[in-house]
């Protein structure tokens, strides 16, 4: 795990996997903070605590995003402060357009056409991203978005093998496209398993190993985000986080210092000890699908 930051060259553009509070590569985010990074351009499709923590630790020099929010817990405090103060330069792109741009990157084509958000002020604001194309086939002024090719994709998965095959059982957002779009792909996972175990259920392999550069075992590596169906989001620790962020100053510095002063194993002990991890797993089991016949 501590080798992870060394795999990300200085100044890299790093795209983060997951979405909302689901399956962000949080162990990797913490490791970047421990390494004291301050040079990264993050791309976040649907960011939450992953982005807010990187911003709070001053790890970013630029942020490209469609949304950063702590949803029920409120606005993303550090993100909001850093943008309002002008400290963090941003590029705001609508989500589907950013997805298609990354897909263009994945396909290694310069742009892709789409039924884009033509009425949005974001279109006029970013003429270097939102464009139009005319073709020799007779199409005129078709809305397109320019390809995005990140240097590094940071993803979290359920299991990987030594060949780099990546399996997700639950939310994987657009991680497969991020892997194809990026020059280097780093995946943390709940467990590393023998290749035979991956082959036994190949339909769960979302990213073939040939695209992956490094796999690192990181149990509860999405915490405090969810990794369904293994564990639910830790809403209680997210609430603690937001309180520290809102308080700012010493309270937030103390939060960062604790992360910097421990490794992932100590983090897990601190956050998930006393059977807490089991409750997060039970929350998945406790989720209710309503019986339509009985309702």
């Amino acid at each position: 795990m501590e080798d992870l930051p060394g795999l990300i060259p200085e100044g890299s553009t790093v795209v983060l996997g997951g979405g909302w509070f689901a399956n962000h590569p949080m162990a990797a985010v913490r490791e970047l903070i421990r390494a004291g990074r301050d040079d990264l351009h993050a791309i976040a499709l649907l960011g939450s605590i992953d982005v807010d923590l990187l911003v709070g630790a001053r790890a970013l020099r630029h942020l490209t995003f469609s949304m950063v929010t702590l949803e029920a817990f409120g606005l993303a405090t550090n993100f909001r402060r850093a943008v309002q103060s002008g400290e963090l330069p941003i590029t705001e792109i609508s989500a589907l357009s950013l997805q298609v741009a990354l897909e263009a990157g994945a396909h290694r084509v310069p742009f892709l056409p789409l039924r884009g958000p033509v009425g949005s002020d974001l279109v006029a604001m970013h003429p270097d991203f939102y464009g139009t194309a005319s073709t020799s086939l007779g199409d005129a002024d078709v809305p397109v978005v320019k390809a995005v090719r990140p240097d590094v994709a940071l993803l979290h998965a359920t299991r990987c093998d030594a060949l780099g095959n990546v399996q997700h059982e639950g939310t994987y957002a657009m991680d497969p496209e991020l892997a194809r779009a990026s020059d280097r792909v780093i995946v943390t996972c709940e467990e590393i398993v023998p290749t035979e175990a991956v082959a036994a259920d190949a339909s769960l392999t979302r990213i073939p190993g040939l695209l992956v550069d490094a796999v690192i075992e990181a149990p509860f590596g999405a915490h405090p985000c969810s990794h369904v169906p293994r564990y639910a989001q830790d809403a209680w620790k997210l609430l603690d986080y937001q309180k520290a962020a809102l308080a700012g100053g010493d309270a937030y510095d103390a939060l960062l210092d604790r992360i910097r002063g421990e490794d992932e194993e100590s983090y897990r002990e601190r956050m998930l000890g006393d059977g807490r991890g089991r409750v997060l797993e039970a929350l998945v089991e406790a989720a209710v699908v309503i019986d339509e016949e009985a309702a």
Binding site: S120, A173, A232, E285, A287
Partner: protein, 292 residues
């Protein structure tokens, strides 16, 4: 039979659920955190819109799930009939213009139906930097319906012109939309006071209905843009006793949908109480497993 007692959010939920009509592919998407809208989707799915395709996260063909902060995602996967990458789903629903309904809720909405999820004040030096629109810009443009709901109806929210148009449905008129290959459908605003509707680009929002007990003047006074008021303004239908029972007992026993109405500290306190109940439910399962 209408319910004897209901709360305003339950009326709004029932009104939004009415929009789940069997048109097009009948796809309804659970996007970013909008608990009131999620409740409406589940209500529709359990009553008149059982054929609707619900999608959320990577899951498609989701059954009606009980809303909770920590469990909705897991329940969505447990009931889903397929999963696909966000990109595949985006190409099908949003960009493939097959989506029927995905509600939006924003800081501001303008007379032209534009929504602001980006910044209050100057975009480059904002007074309040908002989260950003996620997929809302593509949703409001490409879905069959544009439904924006708000938990307050005032002139700070319903404004003449938004500070920044994160998304804007254009054009709005059905004929112009069909000419461009876009699905036709009005812009609907649902608030605690009324339902407003805009069918044509050059016409103002019209007062479609006022909620029971609300007078027309209150709505007009609290709306920051011109409103067309018909001679006889209908009253919004009240939720039925069965709808209210489904909401309280099956869909949203933790009352997550009320969350939208709270602000600041009130919100965090409410969240703590609600999460304590979710924790207790999960801890009981751990204890049961240990006892076995």
């Amino acid at each position: 039979m209408t319910a004897d007692r209901y709360e305003i959010h339950e009326l709004m939920i029932a009104r939004i659920a009415e929009e789940m009509t069997a048109e097009g592919e009948h796809i309804v998407l659970m996007g970013s955190f909008t608990p009131l809208a999620y409740a409406a989707y589940m209500l529709g799915k359990l009553t008149h819109a059982r054929d609707a395709w619900l999608a959320g996260y990577n899951a498609v063909g989701i059954g009606p799930v009980q809303l909770s902060f920590t469990g909705s995602e897991a329940a969505a996967y447990r009931s889903a009939t397929s999963t696909a990458s966000f990109n595949q789903n985006g190409w099908i629903f949003h960009l493939g213009t097959r989506g029927l309904l995905e509600c939006v809720s924003s800081a501001q909405i303008g007379a032209d139906g534009a929504i602001n999820l980006s910044a209050i004040g100057d975009y480059d030096a904002p007074k309040v930097r908002l989260p950003g629109g996620a997929g809302a810009p593509e949703v409001v443009q490409n879905y069959r319906r544009m439904v924006a709901y708000f938990t307050r109806h005032d002139r700070r929210t319903l404004v003449e012109a938004v500070d920044f148009a994160t998304g804007r449905r254009t054009p709005i008129g059905a004929a112009a939309r069909e000419e461009l290959g876009l699905c036709p459908g009005a812009v609907l605003i649902v608030t605690p006071l009324a339902v407003l509707r805009k069918d044509e680009d050059e016409q103002p929002f019209e007062l479609e209905s006022v909620h029971p007990g609300v007078d027309v003047e209150t709505v007009v006074e609290n709306t920051g843009f011109e409103l067309a008021v018909p001679d006889d303004v209908p009253v919004t239908g009240e939720p039925s006793a069965r709808q209210v029972e489904l909401l309280r007992e099956r869909i949203d026993p933790f009352q997550t949908a009320r969350f939208d109405f709270l602000t600041g500290e009130e919100r965090l306190g409410y969240l703590e109480d609600l999460l304590a109940r979710e924790w207790d439910r999960a801890e009981a399962l751990v204890e049961q497993a240990a006892a076995r």
